[in-house]
């Protein structure tokens, strides 16, 4: 039997609210499959399972707010009969759920996940019980927040069917009323009534994200004795390599400079591994894998830091494809649990915003952050003469509990080597 638990999506996450199940008892699930949606301070996240099996019992019910590590569901392993697992664990699951000190959302009037009677699970076509959050995809939730559409009212109109992004956009169009060309004439306008006096629904999730960022950064400043190092790196050779690479390629196959820099950072980390890992319970644990969290600002405000996995193992085109995928999902509010769980270092690229130098705050439990500034032509000295060359200010924020400036200096030196001589990389 496998316990599927509330995942930790970063050091700043304490709990999450189950929004909906994407599976039912008896369903076979594969590794990496999305099994449920959990609402967090980072928005609604599709949560994947890391083990294959057959769903035996859904322990948590939509609307429940559960701490990280609390059991959400039980899976039968290969060879086990899911119905037998469900029957054998009927008492156990209820006890565990109680042990986990389930915090209920104040409005949630749903009964606890009932042990012993899987058939008591609400029918998928039925309206959700009052007080439960409406079933909607993460993208639909985000769009609803942008457009000010009331998901609960929309859910009532759709008789409990899962809300899709098209439903949200249609409801927003209808709510716009007579000015909309597609609004029915004569009849009452369907969809939620506008309530101009109500607080904007977009406000709450943004505030929650701001609170989460504040909590993580306050902890970082309280616990981590930072040191900061900076280097101006000549990137002419890397840019020349990239311009030649991109010249013959259609737009969809072009590689961005930041992908090249991420790769160089990963290679430098292989030489200086003490900046890559996590500091937990007074000990640094070095990570063999290099998963770079890329700070991504969201247009609505706030930021998310999705991970680009195994950066050191990817050639530039493959790395660019992974980066494109993860950034697209981050910006459209469609991140998955695997995107947020396991970064080993963070990169903050603020060059596009015109920033010269980044002084970054380390994201706990990581022990380093690399900041990238603007690429611009600046005077450099070559063979005793001042010439113009494109350079970039790279900074390292390091954790003094784990490394000293010497290690940080080695890292910047290794990175410089990679970027100044890309043909050697």
């Amino acid at each position: 039997m496998i316990e599927f638990r509330m995942p930790s999506l970063g050091a700043d996450m304490e709990d999450g609210t189950l929004v909906e199940w994407r599976v039912s008892p008896g369903d076979a699930v594969e590794r990496g499959q999305v099994v449920c949606v959990v609402d967090t301070q980072k928005g609604a996240i599709d949560v994947e399972t890391w083990e294959a099996g057959t769903v035996a019992r859904l322990v948590a019910a939509p609307g429940e707010k559960l701490p990280v590590g609390a059991p959400l569901a039980l899976l039968a392993e290969g060879g086990e009969d899911w119905q037998a697992v469900a029957a054998a664990t009927s008492g156990q699951a209820a006890a565990k759920a109680a042990q986990a000190e389930v915090q209920r959302m104040p409005a949630a009037g749903a009964p606890p996940a009932d042990a012993g009677r899987p058939q008591a699970r609400p029918d998928l076509g039925a309206s959700p019980p009052p007080g439960l959050p409406p079933r909607a995809s993460p993208a639909a939730r985000r769009r609803a927040a942008e457009l000010g559409v009331d998901l609960a009212a929309l859910a009532a109109n759709l008789a409990g069917a899962p809300i899709r992004i098209e439903d949200v956009e249609r409801a927003a169009g209808e709510a716009a009323g007579p000015t909309s060309a597609s609004a029915p004439t004569g009849g009452p306008v369907e969809g939620p009534p506008e309530a101009p006096s109500a607080p904007s629904p977009a406000r709450a999730p943004q505030q929650a994200m701001r609170d989460a960022i504040a909590a993580a950064m306050a902890r970082s400043n309280r616990e981590i004795p930072h040191y900061y190092l900076g280097a101006e790196i000549d990137v002419e050779a890397s840019l020349a390599w990239l311009e030649a690479f991109n010249a013959g390629r259609p737009p969809a196959e072009r590689v961005l400079f930041v992908a090249l820099v991420l790769r160089a950072i990963a290679q430098a980390l292989r030489e200086v591994p003490d900046l890559n890992g996590s500091y937990v319970d007074g000990h640094f644990r070095r990570s063999e894998a290099i998963h770079i969290g890329v700070v991504t600002a969201l247009r609505g405000g706030g930021l998310v830091v999705p991970a680009v996995h195994d950066v050191d193992r990817l050639e530039p085109p493959a790395l660019m494809a992974v980066l494109r995928d993860v950034l697209s999902r981050a910006r459209s509010g469609q991140l998955r649990s695997s995107d947020l769980a396991d970064s080993t270092i963070t990169v903050s690229n603020m060059g596009d915003l015109g920033v010269e130098t980044v002084y970054g705050v380390i994201y706990p439990p990581q022990v380093a952050l690399v900041g990238l500034g603007r690429v611009a032509a600046r005077p450099v000295v070559r063979d005793g003469a001042v010439v113009a060359a494109r350079t970039m200010h790279v900074t390292l924020s390091g954790d003094h509990r784990v490394t000293d400036g010497l290690v940080g200096a080695r890292f910047l030196s290794a990175l410089r080597e990679r970027l100044e001589r890309p043909e050697a990389a």
Binding site: N246, P250, A252, V258, R299, L327
Partner: protein, 84 residues
């Protein structure tokens, strides 16, 4: 076939796809739009990909400097489309 207004609409729609809050009425077409609309290099590449798909015009990286304002972008696309 492609009038300037039609080309403009394709550019605007392509930008709105990733920047839904962009206000083109307030945008000065003679100023660099990337700064005005907070378009970073990732979004800019998405725009170039979208224009390639919708208009069939592949703007090479070497020409990115020629399409920094909306007016310049429309001039460039008009010339490339007209030359075919």
């Amino acid at each position: 076939m492609n009038t300037r207004d039609e080309i403009r609409q394709v550019v605007v729609d392509s930008i709105l796809a990733f920047a839904p809050e962009a206000d083109f009425d307030a945008l000065d077409p003679g100023r660099p739009f990337r700064d005005e609309l907070d378009i970073d290099s990732f979004d800019f590449l998405n725009l170039i990909v979208a224009l390639h798909e919708k208009l069939g015009v592949d703007i090479p990286e070497a020409d990115y400097g020629k399409v920094l304002t909306l007016d310049a972008m429309l001039d460039y696309l008009e010339a490339r489309l007209g030359a075919r």
